[in-house]
Subunit: 146 residues, 2 copies
DNA sequence: TTAATTGCAAACATTTTGCAGGTTC
DNA sequence: GAACCTGCAAAATGTTTGCAATTAA
C-alpha cells in the first residue's frame, strides 16, 4: 500500500500518498508525513514536533498528536507501546519486532530472520489476533564498560 | 525466591516474604502485598488502590505508586508495559507472555507451551537481554457478535 | 533515637478536548 | 459554502516529588 520510493521531497507526491490512505492532505499533514516517512525511524510525538520545527514548519502540539493518531489508524505508520510513559511511532508498518535500550531510550529493529515466533493456536473466545509486539528489553552487558 | 504457598492471610508471613525480598515491612506494604499476591492477576495502580480500600485499609495513592515501583525493583511483582497510558502489575514473576484485549482492557496469560520464541543470537553492541515481552493484541473475531 | 516511610498536595509529562477561526473540495 | 481541519488553552490522565509528621528497628 505505502510506496517507499515515492519522492518525499515532492509535496504533491506526499499528498497523493496521503490520499491513497484515505487521508485528506493539508499543509500540516504533509509536513508531518515528510518528517516521519523520510526514513525508517522510531519517534515520539515530541520528536516529531521538533523535526517539523527544524524544517521551518510550525505545527501545533495538538495537531501533531491528532495527526499521529490518524496516520496510525489509517495504516501509514505504526504506534508502538514500549515505555509506559510515551508512545513511539514507527515509520515502518510491515510486521517486525524491536530491541529497546532503556538507558538510551533507543528502539532498534530486530532483523526479520533473526527472530522466530510460533503463536498459540488457541485464543480467548470470540477474539482473533490483531497484531503481535515482541520487545527485547536490553541492559548493558556485564563485560561492557559502564 | 517467592513462596506461593505462604499464607497471605497471615500478616506475619507476608512480613517475612517482604523481608526475604529485602523490603522493610510496614503496615501499608503488607496491605498492598496481600492485595496483589492473593492470586495470579494483572492490576493497574488504581485497581490496587481500590482493592486496599475494599479490604478496609487506607493507603495513599502516592504510597501505592511508590510501593508498586519498589516491589517491581525487588522482583516481588512484574511491571508490564502494554498500554501507553497506564502500567500493569503482574503478581506472577516467572517469564511468560500475554494476550491483551483492548476492548475490555483485560490481560490474560499465554500458556507456556503454546508460544515458542527463538531469540536473535546477535544483539546491539555492549548489551545483553534483560527480558522479553511478547504481547498478542486481540480484536473481536469477524464471526463473533459485536 | 535515628533513619526510613507515609500522606498530602502540588508538580509533571503526556495526551485529549472544546471551540473559534481557517482551509479544502 | 458545507464539512473538515487547525491552533490554542484548558482539562484529563497517570505518575512523581517535596516536605512535615509518623513509624520501624
Amino acid at each position: 500500500m505505502k510506496t517507499i520510493d515515492e519522492h518525499l521531497d515532492d509535496p504533491a507526491a506526499v499528498s497523493r500518498l496521503l490520499r491513497r490512505h484515505g487521508i485528506t492532505p493539508t499543509r500540516q499533514r504533509v509536513v508531518i508525513a515528510r518528517a516521519i516517512l523520510s526514513r525508517p525511524q522510531h519517534l515520539t510525538a515530541d520528536q516529531v514536533l521538533q523535526l517539523t520545527l527544524e524544517a521551518g514548519d510550525r505545527v501545533s502540539k495538538a495537531t501533531i498528536y491528532n495527526t499521529l493518531g490518524l496516520f496510525s489508524r489509517k495504516g501509514l505508520i505504526r504506534e508502538l507501546t514500549i515505555d509506559s510513559q510515551r508512545a513511539f511511532y514507527d515509520s515502518s508498518t510491515h510486521p517486525h519486532h524491536h530491541f529497546y535500550d532503556p538507558e538510551t531510550q533507543q528502539l532498534t529493529d530486530v532483523d526479520e530472520d533473526a527472530l522466530q515466533l510460533r503463536l498459540p493456536e488457541t485464543l480467548p473466545d470470540g477474539t482473533e489476533i490483531d497484531h503481535v509486539d515482541v520487545v527485547i528489553h536490553l541492559r548493558p552487558s556485564r563485560s561492557s564498560t559502564g
